[in-house]
């Protein structure tokens, strides 16, 4: 029997067939021939017997390790179970939000709102918090992790005005989300990217941050957002030259309404859009088509549920009175941003 696997004139059995015999994977039509070969080839028979003893030893090891393998490290099993639950919850929450957003788009389309848009809005969702996911480039500021280091350069209105100065044919309306229980928490210009963008922030009644990223793109290149964090979801869509990304807690059903509110007021072509909502105090429409210079003095951020400030505060890690955000969320945001 040759060792290299090639058949010889003396024997029609090769090495791989001997292993297949030992492993129980030899087709029936070859089994008889190989066994007949072993009857006359003592060397191969000895080798095959030795391999069989190895397999028997491995089987005993396997059986002996059952107690070790199955009864060992219960904390590992628990950690895995916890991990699975977390992933599953995020997945379910994402599906819920994504489904609501999709339904919302259909509803809006039914009312003709889509006709006013310059482009078909495209909503994408992404679970955040998956440690193995590569973080794609943030379209306007490198990666989102890098945007966290950008210092605020003004409040929300000023940031939005700055962004509006980059538009000629679309309006930008500061969305009023008070009816959804979201309190303004600041804004900042993201000017380190290849395109102008701003970040607007709110805090909900539970102290959780909801961030809206708006940027102006100069091409039709596809944009994508993925952030790293825990229990956060990002929704992104596009309207004309504007690209939006909304980041908030995945379990929050209000995200859908936030998307609707933003869509109804930001990026529509030409005409100013009223921002008042049913049951809410009337708000003076403020379409921004050119840069304005509001008072940029940053006041303290409101606590959740507090009366709305006249001026929004800037988003900054070193702000003197940052919004009250649970520690976990702060940690998550640190990862996300």
């Amino acid at each position: 029997m040759n060792q290299g696997g090639a058949r010889t004139a003396r024997s029609t059995v090769d090495e791989s067939e001997l292993h297949a015999l030992v492993d129980g994977r030899l087709p029936g039509e070859r089994r008889a021939a190989v066994l007949a070969h072993l009857l006359i080839d003592g060397g191969d028979r000895e080798r095959v017997e030795a391999w069989r003893r190895q397999l028997a030893g491995l089987a005993r090891i396997r059986a002996g390790l059952d107690r070790y393998a199955e009864g060992f490290a219960p904390e590992l099993q628990k950690a895995l179970a916890d991990r699975i639950l977390r992933v599953r919850r995020r997945r379910l929450a994402l599906r819920g939000v994504a489904g609501l957003v999709a339904a919302s788009l259909l509803l809006l389309a039914g009312f003709g709102a889509v006709e006013a848009w310059r482009g078909q809005p495209e909503i994408r969702t992404a679970i955040v918090g998956e440690p193995e996911l590569a973080v794609p480039e943030f379209p306007f500021g490198g990666s989102l992790a890098r945007t966290a280091t950008v210092r605020p350069e003004g409040d929300r209105e000023r940031s939005l005005a700055w962004l509006a100065s980059h538009l000629r044919d679309q309006t930008l309306e500061l969305p009023d989300l008070r009816g959804l229980g979201l309190v303004p928490a600041g804004g900042q210009v993201l000017d380190r990217g290849s395109a102008p963008a701003v970040r607007l922030a709110w805090v909900d009644s539970q102290g959780r941050m909801v961030d809206l990223y708006v940027g102006v793109v100069s091409s039709d290149a596809e944009q994508a957002f993925t952030m790293v964090g825990e229990s956060l979801v990002s929704l992104h869509w596009r309207r004309g030259r504007l690209v939006f990304a909304l980041v908030g807690p995945a379990e929050s059903p209000e995200l859908l309404q936030v998307v609707q509110a933003v869509m109804s007021g930001m990026g529509r072509g030409g005409q100013p859009v009223p921002t008042g909502k049913v049951g809410m105090p009337p708000v003076e429409p403020r379409p921004i088509r050119t840069a304005v210079e509001p008072d940029v003095t940053a006041g303290p951020s409101p606590a959740p549920g507090a009366p709305l400030p006249e001026k929004a505060t800037a988003v900054s890690e070193d702000a003197p009175a940052a919004p009250v955000v649970p520690a976990k969320l702060e940690a998550d945001k640190a990862k996300a941003l």
Partner: protein, 193 residues
């Protein structure tokens, strides 16, 4: 028909891993837990240290679960898990070698076994010691095929090599084990290591 000595009851049939309709309806997360025991058993014999083995398995499981998506069909979950474990093992092999002490691995692992007869214990310890002496490429193949019952094709997928490479490594590995477990050979080759 010649006498067939190779169909005894102890021969374990390899587990079928082709995805069936039942398992496709279940989540990847749930299925992963079914393979924890096999992964830990394989990892233990692969790396030779219980703590390193569990670190390896946990890293593997967390990575696979984190990457799992509802829209991604994992038809060969077991092979996918072992592939991930293999990649992590290869990545950390050099690091583990540096940390490995002088504790006789065969004794550590043999002590984890259910108490066998004295003669069995000696044989198993020799086999475990011989496995640890094998080059890791051969050890992987021998364990995947002989311990975990993967097919040659599955082992090739796990290791990312052609089936022919699996067969050659299996042949060399088994022959090395045969030599190593003959009288006195194990101790001699451990010195070489």
């Amino acid at each position: 028909m010649p006498w067939d000595p190779y169909t005894d009851e102890s021969a374990s049939e390899p587990e079928e891993v082709v995805a069936g309709s039942t398992r496709q309806r279940r989540s990847v997360d749930e299925e992963v837990l079914e393979y924890v025991s096999g992964l830990r058993r394989y990892a233990l014999l692969l790396v030779g240290d219980p703590h390193d083995a569990d670190d390896l398995v946990q890293e593997c499981l967390v990575r696979v679960i984190a990457q799992a998506r509802s829209w991604r069909r994992v038809k060969e979950l077991r092979a996918y898990l072992f592939t991930t474990l293999h990649n992590l093992f290869v990545d950390g092999h050099r690091r583990r070698l540096k940390r490995r002490g002088d504790v006789p691995i065969e004794t550590v692992i043999a002590d984890l076994l259910a108490p066998p007869r004295q003669q069995d214990w000696v044989e198993l310890r020799d086999l475990i010691a011989a496995l640890q002496v094998l080059p890791k490429e051969q050890r992987e193949v021998v364990l995947l095929v002989g311990l975990e019952g993967l097919s040659y094709l599955e082992a090739a997928d796990v290791l990312g090599v052609p089936v022919g490479t699996v067969m050659s490594r299996l042949s060399r590995g088994r022959e090395a084990l045969r030599r190593l477990t003959s009288h006195g050979s194990t101790a001699r080759l451990r010195v070489v290591k």
